[in-house]
Symmetry: C2
Subunit: 395 residues, 2 copies
Amino acid sequence: MVSVEWLVKNVTYRPHCYICFTWDNSVRFLFSDKQPFPRWDCLYWQLLEALRARIGDPTRFDDSLMQHLTLFTEDPEREYPNQNVVWEKFEKAFIAAAGLITHAPVLRDYIYKGLEELYYDNIMYLELRSGLSRTYELDGTIHDKVWTLKVFQEVTQMFVQDHPDFLGARIIISAHRLSEVKTVVKEAIQLQKDFPDVVAGFDIVGREDDGRTLWFFREALSLPAQLGATLPFFFHAGETDDEGSDVDQNILDALLFNTSRIGHGYAIAHHPLAKELSRKRNIAVELCPISNQVLKLVSDLRNHPAVVLMSEGHPLVISSDDPSLFGTSGLSYDFYQAFVGIGGLKANLGTLKELASNSIRYSSLPTNLKNKLHDMWLEKWDLFIANNTTKYNLE
Amino acid sequence: MVSVEWLVKNVTYRPHCYICFTWDNSVRFLFSDKQPFPRWDCLYWQLLEALRARIGDPTRFDDSLMQHLTLFTEDPEREYPNQNVVWEKFEKAFIAAAGLITHAPVLRDYIYKGLEELYYDNIMYLELRSGLSRTYELDGTIHDKVWTLKVFQEVTQMFVQDHPDFLGARIIISAHRLSEVKTVVKEAIQLQKDFPDVVAGFDIVGREDDGRTLWFFREALSLPAQLGATLPFFFHAGETDDEGSDVDQNILDALLFNTSRIGHGYAIAHHPLAKELSRKRNIAVELCPISNQVLKLVSDLRNHPAVVLMSEGHPLVISSDDPSLFGTSGLSYDFYQAFVGIGGLKANLGTLKELASNSIRYSSLPTNLKNKLHDMWLEKWDLFIANNTTKYNLE
């Protein structure tokens, strides 16, 4: 959510930040008021401040830290020869950043800073997938998920006060597919009840190819219906180009479990029935062009299956997936890729307008807030058009 | 149509074969009973027999000749960095081979040999796009297109006599898009009238990106209808991944000109209306997976737009485009690619059966011959199944 540069240049320079280099060439961070205990993955923790003092070249050192936190590289073809390699790095970078972000005082700044980066990219509303990690204090005190959710709510409210043309942010509570999904579903049901304004719904994340399909979790995913609870689903599904595989079939199960949107849905173009269902029920596909390129589903975006979807007027929204991991920020880069790479030569202002308003139309917001957001957005859009009409003398 | 190895190892070893190396690193061949005159592209002709005698290493020399006649290379990514480079080599190789194939005595052998290669690949019927080049004798005498067509007819009849389980072959008369298309259309109308059994129809070939869309030729293409003549069209169209370009629009014009099949039709997946027309009117798309890979439309076939078409049961036939240029032969390689790369993990024997019978269903043959061919094919198919059932003990 926040650029890696800020994490390294700001957060890792804060006092009491320890670092450890793992055997598999990754890093861990930990804030602590005393020397941290060794852990299974981290035998030797060093105080970053002391380490930096010993190292002659802090710029190069900081660059190396950033390398651990993103997938960015000058030569992706060589460094990431296949999907397995790039996904391994992807998951590693996630874990490496966790120790920084889940430090309670950092989290507040992180959320505010994240909203700020989006705001500067003209984003007016956010739906964020988050595992709501537990957070920790300097002395090792642990806060639970509710604490994290409350902080998210508070910081967002503060941000909206400071920026009245930003509507707000909601959370899609996400369970990693290798975790105890059933437990998270139960928690999510409760949190959705207690924080209906903040909690949009639920998703299962992590690489689909690692197994554990949506169908595998059918019992857990049936809980909300069984309990008569409301928990909208926003499933990742079909993030694959392997037709006929289990991951490919997730598309169908996502729809059968009444998902509200489909994350990626890369495979949907070759499922005629699923495509029809998705379209008729207004279940938008979240298109993440940069992510699909980085994670090696497609190299030339002109062959992205969304070309077919877009030509058919399929409900589509643009998402950045994990911008900080890809070395981007905000959403404009993905809009650019969708516009230039997927929209074809006849894409025009109308395409951009449609995609932007789709973000509102297919959001999880209640109707009154959708309308409010649409009015706020339309005002900005009209201004954007007016300014450019004047600027380029198009009257 | 015939493997390049045969052209080099057999044809270029025949007497009176001259070679010339052009300034743009290509070759020309010419059979002549005397030293050929210099031409604009060939100032210096050498007798191949004499040249080979001077060169120590005939194997390496022959390999270098083969290089000129195919696109095959160990490192395609480096050698063909983009579509322009690979298409240039493609057109060059075509021209290089012409001097060999259009020598009248070679042509007979070439056709017979070509049918033989297809026959050994279990192909039972052929529709060949051909420009019906004029041919030449040793003394420089020129034969016209009618002569070429007659030779094709005679050799095919001879081949069918020798191989009763081969049904025959027809020609789709092809004009290069940079040539005088109107003249060729007129000739084709006449030839179709005079040789209705051999001439299947008409097409325009050559790289679509070089300009001259189907719409550009609307006058020429309207001639058959104006003259009340029969000339079925088998248009190449939409061999591009550039949505919204002129080449992309060829898909629509091909259909509006009542094409009988669509060559490549790579772009059709993102033209919903064209796709519907093609499907309702049983206008099959000729899928050429190897060609699309070699000519750099798509690298990973799982992203080929035909994945969508196949999932929708769209009328599809498999074609090898120009196998000798790609270093393949017959049709099995393309069937393999379509089956493994495009069909997905659930492709099965039924997929192969459907694709094979589609070749008959969407052929240009009259109904009685379609039925005959289908019976001939079904007998072989049933035998294939029976043999494998026994072999692998699947009873």
